[in-house]
Structure formats: C-alpha cells, structure tokens
C-alpha cells in the first residue's frame, strides 16, 4: 500500500544534538528528500562558495581519485550539500563551522591561503590532525574529531549510496568497491553465482529492465543441497 502519511503529529518536536553514537548511525528525522534536490541541481544550494570550495577539497582527500574513481567522480560534494539541506540538516551547523575551521587553519599556515589551495600533502596533514583530535590554529568549535567523523560519514554516504540520492554518480563508488548493484529487481542470483562458478553482471552493464543479474529463475526450482 502507498497511502500518503499525514505528517502533522508524526514529526519530532525534538531536535537531537549529534552525540557521537548517534552520528555514527547517521541519525536523521524525516524531511523532504535530498534526492530530488540533488538531481535538480549540481550547484550549491546550502553551502556558500567558500564552504563549497573547502568541502570539495576535503572530500577529494578523504576519497582520492589517484588510483581510481573517488569523491570527485561520484559527486560527493553535491550529495553533501543536499544532504545537509535535507535529511542531515541537523549536522549542517557542525559541518559549516568545521569548513570555516579548515580555512582558518590554512590561513594560519600561510597568510591569505584557504584550505583548497594547500598542496595535497598539506591538506592530508590537516585531515590527519583532525582525525587525531589536535590541530594548531583550529577554532574552539567544533571538536575536530567530531567534524572529521561527520565529513567522512557524508563522504562515504555520497560515494556508496544508491545513485537516486545524488551521489555515486555513474556507479563510481560501486565500481571502485566491486559491488555489482541491487539484484532482487533483476531476478536475484543463481546458486552458481553464489558459489562464484558463474559470473555476475554488474548493474552498469545491465540494460535497464531487460537484462537480469541472473538468468531468469527456472520456474519452481527445487531445493539444492548446500
């Protein structure tokens, strides 16, 4: 059934501040879907030009493209922008102040510099400082590790989500991992495919609606002894 749900009494009154554990689970409340927004536009909808630039540079160091598709190819920046506007809006203040922090650290290293113009090595050093929880020149807020965790979480969500959410463009993330895509809608897998004795056709090689991941199940197949 697909009855529309009445949102009125079903929306939380409570905004929950992102505590560590909750963040790890990608805690969210129902909101208009970021998916639509991400499809509609690949230009910033929430982030300022400066934030957009800093976020793009950081995402490309978290998931680099040096040896295969990374954040850039998958469109992680666009995903982040729309996610912070919608499903993960509760994380936006933390991310935005963290992005300002990145530029502040860059300026402290080199007057007039922003994070995006640092060399990849310098950028990596800044990210390592965040991950380690300590970074000279970092503002009092947000906590560096919390910012790093959120940025990496959003990077991975954008890299590996179903492309309908605006990330994982052209299946860039799935290709990099070697995940062939959802299979149920394409008929599932055969016993031979489960055992690795028959190949699996990934979604980017399937023709939509015509070619299943597995040959159509032979109707009423009997139980195979495992």
């Amino acid at each position: 059934m697909n009855r529309p749900r009445l949102p009125s009494r079903r929306r939380f009154l409570l905004e929950v501040a992102g505590a560590g554990g909750a963040l790890a689970l990608g805690l969210v409340w129902p909101r208009p879907r970021a998916a639509r927004a991400a499809r509609a536009s690949a230009t910033p909808a929430l982030l300022s030009p400066a934030e957009w630039r800093a976020a793009g540079a950081a995402l490309e160091r978290i998931l680099p493209s040096d040896s295969g598709p990374g954040a850039r190819e998958a469109g992680c920046l666009n995903f982040l922008d729309k996610s912070l506007l919608h499903e993960d809006a509760h994380l936006a203040p933390l991310v935005r102040s963290g992005l300002a922090g990145l530029d502040a650290v860059a300026a402290a290293r080199r007057p007039g510099a922003v994070f995006a113009v640092l060399s990849p090595e310098e950028q990596d050093a800044v990210l390592a400082g965040l991950a380690g929880g300590e970074l000279p020149g970092w503002p009092p807020e947000p906590p560096p590790r919390a910012f790093f965790d959120v940025l990496r979480l959003e990077a991975l969500l954008g890299f590996l989500c179903d492309p309908r959410h605006g990330g994982n463009r052209d299946f860039a993330g799935w290709r990099r991992l070697g995940y062939p895509g959802p299979a149920h809608a394409a008929g599932g897998y055969t016993p031979e495919q489960m055992r690795g004795t028959a190949p699996i056709r990934p979604i980017w090689k399937r023709r939509p609606g015509r070619e299943p991941a597995a040959p159509a199940p032979a109707g009423g197949a009997s139980g195979h002894e495992g």
């Binding site: 059934m1 009494r9 939380f12 909750a22 998931l63 990596d124 990496r152 590996l160 179903d162 897998y189």
Partner: protein
C-alpha cells in the same frame, strides 16, 4: 457504540502475527492495532541509505533515551532496531529459526545463582514447548537438516517426518570457506535453519538469494513473516479488523482489574477506544513494557500488571563478537541471505572458561551485504590508523573479498537493566519515550572476549591475507564502558514465572494480575539463550493461544 470484539491484538510482529492468525482461525472476531502503516512488497526495495542507514522506511519516528546507570541523565537517540509498521521487525528479520536447547529453559538450576544477575528458570520445559516449535516450523516453513547440529536438543520427529519441512538452501562461497575451515579445526558446522523458502512452499515462491535480506522486507514473500504468512490466513477468515497507524497509549482497566478497552491515537491523531473481551499484547520487549507502564490507574499505580515491580526490568539484547577475514578470492557476501552455515561447538556452558553460558557462531553478511554497511563498519582494521585517503580506499577495495564471522551470545538478565518512562523527553504525541538503562554483566564481557578469540582462530583457518576483530563499540565489541545500548533481539521486561511476586506473566503468558491479558512477544523470556529468539516467540504465542482457546471452550461447554 461499536460492539466489543472477542479479542484485541496489540502489535503485529512475530507474536502478534501468530495471535491474530490463530484467534481468527478459531472463529473469534479480532481487532489488531499496530502503530505503523501497512507496508507491502511494493515498498520493499534495496535502497540501503534510506532503509537501513537512515531507517526512514520502517521506523522513521523512533525515539528513545539511553543511560548506563540509574541516576545519570539519558541521551536521546535511536538505539533499538525496530519496525513501527504492520508486521513489526519480523518483516525485516534474517530468518534464523532456532529451537532453544533444553538447558536454556533451566539456567538458574543449571548454573546456580550468579552475583549481579537475575537468573531464573523458565516455568516450562523444552518438551512442553516442542509441539509448538513444530507448528511454527511448519507454518512458517523452516529449511534445515534435523540432527545436523550435534549440540541441539534431539528432536522428537513427527512420525515419518524429516525434522524440518524444507531442505537446506544452496550455499554461498564465503559460507563454504567457513565450513571447510571449521571442519579442519574439528568443529561441527551445519546448515543454519532459516524460515526462507528454498523452493515454493505455503503458497509463497522460492527465494532468489538477492543479498539485501536482513534489514529489508522481502519483495516476493519468500521470507516468512506476519505479512507473508499470518495476515493472508487471518484475512481469509473474514474475521480480522486490522487497524494500521493506530498507536495504543493505554490499556484501560475496570474496577475488577480486567482490561476493558485499548485507548489509541488513529492516523489523524484522534483519540479512540476499542473494546474487547481478551487482550493479546505483542508490542515487543520495549513497546509492551512501555505501554503497561503508561497504563496507570488507581488499581495499578505502578502500571498495569506490575504488582511485582518487574515490568520493564531484566531487559536482554544479546551481544556478539565479530571478526573480519580478507580472503584471496571473492566471498560473495552480497549474494544469498544473511547466513548459511553455523556452528554450535561453543554453545554448551562451561564455567572453566571463566564465564557461564555461550552462543552460536556463523558466517554472516551483516557487514558485507551492501557497500555502506561495509564502509561504515571498518573500525578495527589495523591498517586504518588515519581512516582516509589511499588507506581507506584500499580497505574499501577489499569489499568483494571480505568475509565476516559473527556470533549470537547470551547476556545475563540484570534487574537494573530496564526500560521505563523518560521523565523529560516526550515524543510528538506528548508521550514519555522509553528510557533504557543498561550495563553489561562481567560474564557477558568475558564471554564476548573469549568468543572473539575463537572467531579469530576460525578466521585464521579460513586463510586469506588479513584477520582482525571488528571494533564497533557497543555493537561488535563490548566492555564496561560500551554495553550494547540497543538490539534487534528484544527480550525480558515482562518475564514469565510461577511466582506472581517475582514475575509478570505465568507459563502461558497470562498476566498474573490481569486475567484477560496475555503477553505474547519476546518480553516474556526469563533468560536470553544463545540463539536468535523468534522461533521461540512464535512457539510461545501458539502455546498461549492454544491454552486460552481450550480454557474458553471449557467455559463454554
């Protein structure tokens, strides 16, 4: 005013599903209330971000609070894996369908008292439950091989029967590797029994082994659930009045101490009441305790049926150690369903290990069936000291070769591990949210550590390039600081027992203090056992309804 129904079922997960099916088929008029909408196969896609990571399909409004110690403030969040939808968490389960072992019904007398733990015997034996296990296996279609697990309690086979109604499934590569490794170590792996169709059964098609199974609804009903088994049967009788998006906020007791009506909020938020002669509560170990505690009256000032003060206490969630192996070949964890092979060699209790009780081990796809759940659970990988850049990429690229060995381990009941009403945090309906207070007993922590070592040995025996424990605190790794804060296996909180001063319901699930109230979900478990709970929830629900119907017929006669 609407005439009273014969029976009202609250919550339509595993226990509620059996109750509404059996009551309707026995000829009673039944109203079933569930707080969530009725979803169906058309809603069940594999969008991992939406369905699992953000949990926006099954329980978008879930809110709970958590703290470790009484007296501490509790932090709001989503801790338990729930489904507020018709069919409950049973829709998205992994299908593992165990009978408990004989000794698991007698933990107190087998082990003796343990400090800090609230051990108890179940008020019934394995043999008393066995006929109902059999019915559950038949109705829900369990696939397995009787006797393949040398550590299970030998079953009395129905005459001419093969033990399980369905043969085992074909196996995925990772499970084969695990099975061979286990045999090399002298262990006894066997096909894990699942309520999933290896061939058409019960009017439902065979499974297509599509991978995204646990956590998702089955798009073809090959997985047994309330939606695929109980609702069609109950509806066929014409006696079911199912009311989705109907959140029960109080069970209203009359002066004689019987429940008269369920007061609920409909989908527009209007308050309504439905009357019935008998009430079957199955809102799970969190929801049922929560509802009883909300239902205060002059006669039950501490909550309905709570004269013992035990409602909400002894909350058990299981725990599990988890180990990652990177093979030299594809493990194919994104195919099939959650698990194909298990071993039970470490299940029997042995105090010489430094702890009592035990649990079951299996090759699982919990962290490999899809890419996000894999990528977000890399913590513990010793290579990931920075956790970004090329290092992260290399770990991500190991995805196809990643094998996971997991375990389901018994946690001991503790009286202070409980759910009650949060005094400060209210939900959108203005109702106090469930507050969870929970620590981990030292026995659990010792067991978790010991099983981690056994899993590492098994992992080494699987071969491959790297083996390491997954270190996700409170999930795959527990210690004093990081108890399991929420789970998928919700047990305890309305324990069954013979003594009304120390338990909430009797051996049939009937509330000691409320003669027309039965509780038929995981909340009645006195101890947690080292197996997933659902087949036992189903069997107990069959037994409760069977007993109720017999008593009713005796009265009528």
């Amino acid at each position: 005013m609407e005439a009273p129904f014969d029976a009202c079922v609250i919550g339509t997960g595993a226990g509620g599903g059996v109750a509404l099916q059996e009551l309707c088929e026995a000829g009673l008029s039944v109203v079933a209330l569930d707080r969530g909408p009725e979803l169906g196969p058309a809603d069940f896609d594999e969008d991992e971000l939406r369905v699992v990571i953000r949990d926006a399909l099954f329980s978008p409004e879930q809110l709970e609070t958590f703290r470790r110690h009484p007296g501490e403030p509790a932090a709001p969040g989503r801790y338990n894996q729930l489904a507020h939808a018709v069919g409950g968490a049973f829709t998205r389960w992994a299908g593992w369908a165990w009978r408990l072992r004989e000794d698991e019904f007698r933990v107190l007398s087998t082990e003796g008292p343990v400090e800090g733990a609230h051990l108890a015997d179940w008020p019934l034996s394995y043999r008393e439950l066995e006929p109902f296990y059999e019915r559950a296996e038949r109705d829900f279609g369990v696939a397995g091989v009787a006797g393949a697990n040398p550590f299970e309690t030998p079953r009395r086979l129905p005459s001419g029967g093969a033990g399980y109604p369905l043969p085992p499934h074909p196996v995925r590569r990772g499970a084969e590797v695990f099975e061979q490794a286990a045999r090399r170590l002298g262990r006894h792996p066997f096909p894990l029994p699942v309520a999933i169709n290896p061939k058409p059964y019960g009017g439902r098609p065979r499974c297509t082994w599509g991978g995204a199974c646990q956590g998702f609804g089955c798009p073809i009903h090959a997985k047994a659930s309330t939606l695929s088994v109980c609702l069609p049967r109950a509806r066929a009788t014409g006696r079911l009045d199912l009311r989705p998006e109907s959140r029960v906020v109080e069970l209203v007791a009359d002066a004689s101490g019987r429940v008269r009506a369920a007061r609920y909020l409909d989908r527009e938020g209007r308050e309504r009441e439905v009357r019935a002669r008998h009430f079957f509560l199955a809102a799970n170990a969190i929801g049922s305790a929560h509802l009883l505690l909300l239902s205060r009256s002059a006669r039950f000032p501490e909550g309905l049926a709570n004269g013992s003060g035990q409602v909400g206490r002894n909350l058990m969630l299981h725990h599990g150690a988890t180990v990652r192996v990177i093979l030299d070949e594809p493990a194919l964890g994104h195919t099939g369903f959650e698990a194909f092979r298990a071993l039970d060699d470490f299940h029997p209790s042995d105090p010489k290990r430094g702890f009592i009780r035990g649990g079951v081990i299996a090759e699982v796809s919990a962290f490999t069936r899809q890419p996000l759940v894999y990528a977000l659970h890399l913590a513990g990988d010793p290579r990931l000291d920075r956790g970004f850049g090329e290092e992260l990429m290399r770990s991500l690229e190991e995805y196809p070769r990643a094998l996971t060995l997991g375990s389901v381990l018994e946690d001991l009941p503790m009286e202070d591990n409980r759910v009650d009403l949060d005094p400060e945090v209210h939900d959108a309906d203005g109702i106090p949210v469930p507050r969870i207070t929970r620590r981990q007993h030292p026995n659990d922590i010792a067991m978790n550590r010991w099983f981690r070592e056994r899993l590492l040995e098994l992992g080494e025996a699987c071969g491959g390039s790297r083996v390491f424990p997954l270190r996700v605190p409170g999930v795959t790794w527990i210690d004093e600081e990081h108890p399991v804060r929420g789970g998928a296996h919700l047990m305890g909180t309305c324990r069954m027992g013979t003594n009304p001063e120390r338990s909430v319901v009797d051996a049939f699930g009937r509330a000691h203090q409320v003669p027309n109230l039965w509780i038929v979900d995981g909340s009645v478990f006195p101890t947690a056992a080292g197996y997933n709970p659902t087949l036992t929830i189903l069997a107990l629900a069959y037994r409760a309804v069977d007993h109720f119907l017999r008593a009713m017929r005796r009265l009528d006669a």
